[in-house]
C-alpha cells in the first residue's frame, strides 16, 4: 500500500514568497529608523540592533496575525519600544550591579561620542519610563495618546511622566550651564 502525503500546495508557497518579500521590504525600510529609536531608549547601539532584530523575527513569526502593512509597522514599533524598555531595565540593573562591585582601579569605560552631548546625557539618566516617553514625544513626535497606547498606560500617566522628565531635564541642563 502506498500512502502519499500531499506536497505543499502552490498557493501556500506563493503566500510564503509574498510574505518573505513583504517582510524583507519592511526590514529595509524601517530597520535604520527603528535602530535609532531603540538606541535612544536602550542607550547602547549593539543592544539596540539586537532589539530591532528580535522585533523583526517576532513580526515574521506573527505575520499571519497581521492583516495589512500598516498594522505590521505598528506591530514592529510597539515591539521595538517594549523590547527596548525591557532591555534598558536589564541594562541599568547590570550597570548598577557592576558599579557596586567594580574596583576603584578599574579603567574607565571608553567614552562614546554621544556622551559629549549634554542633552542626551541628561536624557540617559532619566528613569526608563520617563526616557521612553521623552523619546517618543520629542524624537518620534507622537501625541500623548499615541504614547499612552504604545507604553500601555493612560494619557494622564504619560503627561505625568513627561512633566517629571521635563523638570528633571531642565534642572540638569541648568546645572550644566551654570
Amino acid at each position: 500500500m502506498v500512502l502519499s502525503l500531499p506536497a505543499r500546495r502552490p498557493a501556500v508557497a506563493a503566500d510564503d514568497a509574498d510574505r518573505d518579500r513583504r517582510v524583507g521590504d519592511l526590514f529595509d525600510r524601517h530597520y535604520p529608523g527603528l535602530c535609532r529609536l531603540a538606541y535612544l531608549i536602550v542607550g547602547d547601539r549593539v543592544q539596540a540592533e539586537e532589539v530591532v532584530m528580535d522585533a523583526f523575527m517576532r513580526t515574521f513569526a506573527s505575520w499571519g496575525r497581521i492583516r495589512d502593512l500598516d498594522h505590521s509597522e505598528a506591530y514592529l514599533r510597539r515591539a521595538v519600544v517594549n523590547l527596548s524598555r525591557t532591555r534598558a531595565r536589564r541594562r541599568h540593573t547590570e550597570e548598577r550591579s557592576y558599579a557596586a562591585t567594580a574596583s576603584q582601579s578599574a579603567e574607565p569605560a571608553t567614552a562614546e561620542p554621544e556622551r559629549e552631548l549634554v542633552v542626551w546625557e541628561a536624557v540617559r539618566r532619566l528613569p526608563d519610563r520617563q526616557r521612553a516617553a521623552v523619546v517618543l514625544r520629542y524624537y518620534e513626535d507622537l501625541s500623548e495618546a499615541d504614547i499612552a497606547e504604545l507604553l500601555g498606560c493612560s494619557v494622564g500617566t504619560v503627561k505625568s511622566q513627561l512633566f517629571k522628565a521635563r523638570a528633571t531635564l531642565a534642572e540638569a541642563l541648568d546645572e550644566e550651564e551654570s
Binding site: M1, S4, R45
Partner: protein, 244 residues
C-alpha cells in the same frame, strides 16, 4: 523656557541618533535567521507527520501480523523496519495488513522517524529524528562536493580522492572562522581563507577511510570587543565519512 527646553530636547535627540546602522549586514543576518527558523519548522513538521503516518501504518499493518514499513522523506533518507513474520493462521490475511505487505510513506520534509514494529502493537518508544546522510554518487573519477552554511548538521559520505569545498557566507559584523577538520588524516585541509566581509571557505581532500567533522564558528565581532555584547555564536558542523 519650556519651548527652549523642548527645542533642545528635539535637537539633542536628533543629534544622538544621527548614526547609520549597517542595514545590509543586518538584512543578511535577518534572512539567514529566517531560513534557519523555516528549516526548523519544516523539520519539526516533517518529523511529526512522518511519525504520525508511521503509527497509522503500524496500526493498519499491525492487525495483519508481520508487515514491512518503509518511511521515505524527500531528503533522501529511508529507514525500513521489518516486523516479525506472521504466525500461520494469524488474522488479517489480505490488504494493507497482509503478511509481507510494504507500506511506503512519502513525507515532505527532510526527516525520518525510526519505528520498531511489533505485531499488533504501537511502539512504546517515541520516534527519533536522524540527520539526512548525503552520499556522493559513485562513478569514475573524484567528485567535488560543495556545502554551505545551509547544510550544517548534515552527514556526507565521500570516496577517497573526493574533494569537499565548504563555503560560508557571513557579514562584517558576524564573521565565520575558517572551517577546520577534526581528523586531518581522514579529511585533509588543502586550503582555506576568510574575507573582511565575514565569509570563510576551505577545501578538504578525502585522504583515508574514516570519519571526520568539519566545523566553523560564526561569532559577532562585538562579542570579542569591550564591552562585550551577549550575542550567541553559531556553529557550523558537517559529518563526513570517507570510504575507499
Amino acid at each position: 523656557m519650556t519651548d527652549d527646553l523642548e527645542r533642545r530636547l528635539r535637537d539633542g535627540l536628533q543629534e544622538a541618533a544621527a548614526f547609520e546602522p549597517d542595514t545590509a549586514g543586518a538584512r543578511t543576518r535577518f534572512d539567514r535567521l529566517r531560513r534557519q527558523r523555516r528549516l526548523r519548522l519544516w523539520t519539526g513538521a516533517g518529523a511529526l507527520a512522518t511519525a504520525s503516518v508511521a503509527v497509522l501504518a503500524l496500526l493498519l499493518g499491525g492487525s495483519g501480523g508481520g508487515s514491512r514499513v518503509g518511511l521515505t522523506a524527500t531528503g533522501g533518507q529511508q529507514v525500513t523496519t521489518t516486523a516479525p513474520q506472521p504466525v500461520a493462521g494469524a488474522p488479517g490475511g489480505t490488504g494493507a495488513g497482509s503478511p509481507g505487505a510494504t507500506t511506503t510513506v512519502t513525507a515532505t520534509a527532510a526527516s525520518t522517524a525510526t519505528v520498531t514494529a511489533a505485531t499488533g502493537t504501537v511502539p512504546q518508544s517515541s520516534p527519533t529524528t536522524v540527520p539526512p546522510p548525503t552520499t556522493v554518487p559513485p562513478g569514475p573519477g573524484p567528485h567535488t562536493t560543495t556545502v554551505t552554511e545551509a547544510d550544517g548538521g548534515k552527514s556526507y559520505t565521500l570516496q577517497r580522492g573526493d574533494t569537499l569545498v565548504v563555503q560560508l557566507s557571513g557579514s562584517s559584523g558576524y564573521p565565520w572562522t575558517e572551517p577546520a577538520s577534526s581528523n586531518d588524516t581522514v579529511l585533509h585541509r588543502t586550503g582555506g581563507s576568510t574575507t573582511p566581509e565575514g565569509n570563510a571557505s576551505a577545501t578538504f581532500s578525502a585522504s583515508a577511510d574514516g570519519k571526520a567533522d568539519v566545523t566553523a564558528t560564526e561569532t559577532a565581532t562585538c562579542a570579542t570587543s569591550t564591552p562585550r555584547c551577549m550575542i550567541a555564536s553559531r556553529a557550523f558542523d558537517v559529518s563526513v565519512t570517507v570510504v575507499g
